[in-house]
């Protein structure tokens, strides 16, 4: 048990974290009951609940599964964007009904090189981040194109939701496509990859807030993808949910970036901070998940489901 926690804690957002994403998303955006442990690539349950398909993206193909709410539609659809690990669509099995019940469809896919998607999974470093994020964002855009042509899907209300590393990917994808109408970021990264790695490394090794504060004040790493220009060019509404006691992602830095861009560029950003929550949006004192789902549902009602 201790090993699992350690492994989770030490995972930089940019690098591999097979355990991070499923647990994070499962806890955040699924009803918690009935969820198993992290589902991984070995779960050979092709097409569990929805319609399965493959979507070409450049020279690879992505395996994807679409679950729409009941009724003829057209329905808004959220694409589940992965965190840093080699995640598969099964990681999000627990959230499908959560969204269907509020009238939102869910498109899940296997990350390139994971599950039944072809291509190569690559660990992200500050050095390769621009190149790898480019591919990961292109995959999202391919899915958006595919989705917008599906019957029952409202092409004007396709959005993204994702955790951690997905903050970068969603920003990049949404800045490149008008097909993405909104997105929801959970503990999502918006600092440079270099800053995120730097913070992660120091915060994870610290046993006190003082050490972590010291880590926060020594930010000067400009290596890797810097989402700021892309954030500045965004035109869509976005919800950003953060934990104030995140040891993987520099929440303070990220929120300052977002708040500045929101103010200076008049962006439709909603920022929600759970001061006492960690990267997984678990309250660090009680060990219980904070109610990020309520925030997400309310935001979706205001921006997506009741406006279409």
């Amino acid at each position: 048990m201790k090993a699992a926690v350690t492994a989770l804690d030490r995972t930089p957002l940019s690098r591999t974290a097979s355990s991070l994403c499923p647990r994070l998303v499962a806890l955040l955006l699924a009803s918690i009951a009935g969820l198993g442990a992290c589902s991984t690539n070995d779960q050979a349950v092709p097409c569990a609940t929805g319609d399965c398909t493959t979507v070409p993206s450049g020279d690879i193909t992505l395996a994807a599964e679409l679950d729409l709410p009941p009724g003829p539609g057209p329905h808004p659809v959220l694409i589940m964007i992965h965190g840093s690990g080699p995640g598969t669509r099964h990681d999000f099995a627990g959230v499908v009904d959560t969204y269907r019940s509020i009238g939102v469809g869910v498109l899940r896919y296997d990350k390139r090189g994971a599950g039944e998607s072809t291509g190569k999974f690559r660990d992200v470093t500050a050095d390769n981040s621009i190149e790898v994020f480019d591919l990961l964002a292109a995959d999202v855009l391919a899915l958006v194109d595919h989705l917008s042509a599906q019957p029952g899907v409202d092409a004007a209300r396709i959005g993204l939701i994702g955790v951690s590393q997905a903050g970068w990917i969603m920003t990049l994808a949404a800045s490149r496509s008008e097909g993405i109408a909104y997105f929801i970021s959970l503990s999502g990264a918006v600092s440079t990859v270099g800053v995120s790695d730097h913070y992660d490394k120091i915060a994870e090794g610290s046993l006190s807030d003082a050490e972590i504060e010291a880590a926060l004040t020594s930010f000067d790493d400009t290596h890797g993808y810097d989402p700021r220009p892309d954030l500045e060019s965004l035109t869509v509404p976005a919800l950003w949910i953060y934990g104030g006691r995140d040891l993987s992602n520099p929440t303070a830095n990220d929120v300052q970036i977002l708040d500045r861009i929101r103010t200076e560029r008049d962006k439709n950003f909603t920022i929600q901070l759970f001061a006492n929550a960690d990267h997984e949006l678990i309250d660090v004192t009680t060990g219980q998940p904070v109610d990020a789902q309520r925030v997400a549902n309310r935001w979706l009602a205001e921006h997506v489901t009741q406006t279409g």
Binding site: E204, G244, I282, Q288
Partner: protein, 315 residues
Amino acid sequence: MPEQDVTFPSGDLTLAGTLTRPERSLSGPLVLLVVGSGPIDRNSDVKRMPLGITRQLADRLADNGIPSLRFDKRGIGASEGDYRSAGFSDNVTDASAGLEFLRRHHDIRSEDIFVVGHSEGALIAAAIAASGDPVAGVVLLSGAARRGEEVLRWQASRLADMLPGPIRSLTKLLRIDVERSQIKRLEKLKASSDDVIRMQGLIKVNAKWFREFMAFDAAKALAEIEVPVLAITGAGDVQVDPADVELMGQLVQGPFEGYVVPGVNHILRTGGPSPTTYRKQVGLPLDARTLDLVLAWIDRHGSEQPRETTEDAAT
């Protein structure tokens, strides 16, 4: 060391626990360990936060030849029942059932049983001793000496104060009042009437526990305790006020020893007082000074009691 899985009844429920017995016979002092709040098991572990407090206590006690019983809360681990609908009073009932089990099934004399509780467990230990349920003494680790509601309000204020500096700045930037939103939450719980309620529509909360915990007055209970009491709180505790240790000493009727251990936090680890780092600190052993104090105190107070060991009987 030999550990034995045991079960015992508490009302209609069967609770499960671990009896650690360093020797074949159970003689001399024995400890009932009571865990703190939250859905934690006999070891004080929850999936994402294996605190291990009662497990480490049991191990250390066993190393010193002292047997102990620790058990899963109702609805947790191998114990029957429903965790979310359990109140503070149910937790007291279950701990009392543990005492009864030790007395009946293992012929342990009440004057040999110490109750050692951590956090909520300390309040449970105090409630048991105050009720007149005969025990040799109680050890209150990270306990409180005031009404539960006051404890939770104090926590809310500390929570806001203890946020890392950059995050405190953020709360100002985003105009978030951490303390006020916690207090609002408590007031909603206080005004509720069901055992379990959904807070803000989605997350189920053990409302009965909150109401009973808020209403429980530790000061009143402490004032009724006649058996020896040891109280230890870390100076860096941000969940209960370390100053309560002194209050406890003024309140109890019997012999009292109290310690505020420098550099120790609520989960009895050395390190930063902030809960940010709890998850990392759970990998550390409990503070050695705290463990030593518990052991030495039980040793002193246990030996004051006349023992009926086989040897004694033979002489």
